[in-house]
Amino acid sequence: MALYNETVMDHFMNPRNVGEIENPDGKGVYGSPVCGDMMQITIKVDDNDVITDVKFKTFGCGSAIASSSMATEMIIGKTVDEALAVTNKQIVEELGGLPAVKLHCSVLADHAIKCAIYDYAQKHGKTYKGLEGFDPNADDDDENPEGCEGPGCKA
């Protein structure tokens, strides 16, 4: 049994939407290299609140890169509300599953996207239902390795 399934490997070996949008409408960074995973998401949102472009940059393991790639694919073309409705579980499902120890990567991807949208919302004076209760500085639930300062949005 391979470490990752074919979909994960495909998104890891050939990640979609790698890069950084210049002058993005929103930008989110979540995680930290100390924890082993750090994702940066930049988004373009048009006047209809549709996410027209997303780019990611990720420092992290295979599943972190694959999760970022899949997450960007999933939200391009969606409205912000729709994008906020995407859960980490859906990312895992789209990837066809992740090993148990790697599930937190999908959580990171999900959070990084929310961070980017949060940034967009802040800058554009918007509020979204999907952001209610979202704490950009919250740690994820995983036990952090020693020395890891915990994630939290760093835009």
Binding site: M13, P15, Q40, K57
Partner: protein, 389 residues
């Protein structure tokens, strides 16, 4: 696709000569070495021969060598056996922060059972702090255990000096030589080693066979209780074919030692030279002075190790991130941590180990692919030289 195995410290293939030596002991000469009839005595003789071969490699008497089921078992036996045997004398062990988990997790278990353990630190170059060892000794100290060669960064520890310190204070000295065996000259008597752990699968022998050297006069309590095998010191029907293989591997390691060290070092140095020359933002961890001949432990800044490992695997190259055993856990290597390497850099560290089947072409293939892979991953990465960490 070309297959380039560069993880000889994780395990080695069994050499053909070793397998040939083992083969008759599965189906033909399969007797139980404890049996008194010819089949059994033949099996016993085969074990005696292997014991002699391994003893010769390390300069021990054959009756000081006890076969076990693994290097880990030899480590566990030492720690549990010595602390049990010497419980009346004291309950303190000294070891280092960079030992293998077979030592560290045994120590943690012992700590729950009333044994005190001092974990001595290491210098940034991966060598243990000698002065801290001597300072840690108390009148309750029964054992000092320091590995001969570290499995992650390949640093060779000054065990002879440590043994002297131990003996000056009447303390037993153990070394985990699982990585040292066959990779550096060992003479247990000259080096003052009282107990030493070894494992066959790191020297082109089979997996699942180890050995403990225990100096005559040292008498750790048994760890596997039962039959009277191994002169009554280690119960279990002997892994006959495995032991024969370990013996043959030891014999070959001895004959090959100088060449092995020369060839591996040359290839390893070439790898390091090429990698550091071709790829920016790379650091070699651990001293280059006293080092496992095959080991190159390299940090690639701004990217993460598992990604590198997977991409290398996709072009047929096998390497490991930090220590093989902890590669499934998310914890940063305890060895690099003890050396003071920043955690974010630990995450980007790869261990390459070359061995007897590695060629210069292999190295070129690795460097070529590595350069592309590192560049690609840095393109993807959210951190980089400009942005910083």
């Amino acid at each position: 696709m070309r297959q380039v195995y560069m993880d000889y410290s994780a395990t080695t293939p069994v050499k053909k000569e070793v397998l040939d030596a083992m083969m008759p002991y599965f189906t033909e000469h399969f007797g139980n070495p404890s049996s008194l009839y010819t089949y059994g005595l033949e099996a016993k003789d085969a074990i005696t021969k292997a014991r002699g071969q391994l003893a010769h490699l390390i300069g021990a008497n054959p009756d000081e060598v006890y076969f076990t089921g693994s290097g880990s078992e030899a480590d566990n036996w030492t720690l549990f056996g010595v602390t049990d045997k010497l419980a009346k004398k004291g309950n303190h062990i000294i070891t280092t922060q960079i030992e293998h988990h077979a030592i560290l997790h045994s120590c943690e278990f012992l700590q729950k059972h009333g044994v005190d353990v001092t974990y001595v630190g290491v210098n940034p170059d991966g060598t243990v702090k000698l002065d801290e060892i001597e300072k840690a000794i108390t009148d309750k100290t029964v054992l000092i255990s320091v590995m001969l060669i570290n499995n992650e960064v390949g640093t060779i520890q000054p065990v002879k000096e440590i043994a002297e310190i131990a003996h000056k204070h009447g303390v037993l000295f153990h070394t985990d030589a699982v990585q040292g065996l066959g990779n550096t000259p060992i003479n247990v008597h000259e080096m003052g080693i009282d107990l030493m752990s070894m494992s066959a699968h790191k020297i082109y022998g089979p997996k699942g066979v180890g050995a403990l050297y225990m100096r005559k006069g040292v008498n750790a309590s048994n760890y596997l209780h039962g039959g009277a095998q191994e002169s009554g010191h280690r119960a279990s029907t002997e892994n006959l074919a495995g032991i024969v293989g370990f013996g043959k591997a030891a014999e070959m390691a001895e004959a090959n030692l100088e060449n092995h060290i020369k060839n591996c070092s040359a290839l390893r140095n070439y790898l390091i030279e090429q990698v550091t020359k071709t790829i920016p933002g790379t650091t070699v961890n651990g001293t280059m002075e006293h080092r496992h001949p095959g080991n190159a432990n390299i940090t690639f800044e701004y990217i993460e190790g598992e990604s590198i490992l997977l991409m290398l695997d996709s072009v047929g190259i096998s390497v490991s991130t930090g220590s093989a055993c902890s590669s499934k856990s998310l914890k940063p290597s305890h060895v690099l941590t003890a050396m003071g390497v920043p955690v974010e850099k630990i995450h980007g560290t790869i261990r390459f180990t070359v061995g007897d089947f590695t060629t210069k072409e292999d190295i070129d293939y690795v460097v070529e692919n590595l350069a592309k892979i590192v560049a690609r991953l840095r393109e993807i990465s959210s951190v980089n030289e400009k942005k910083g960490w």
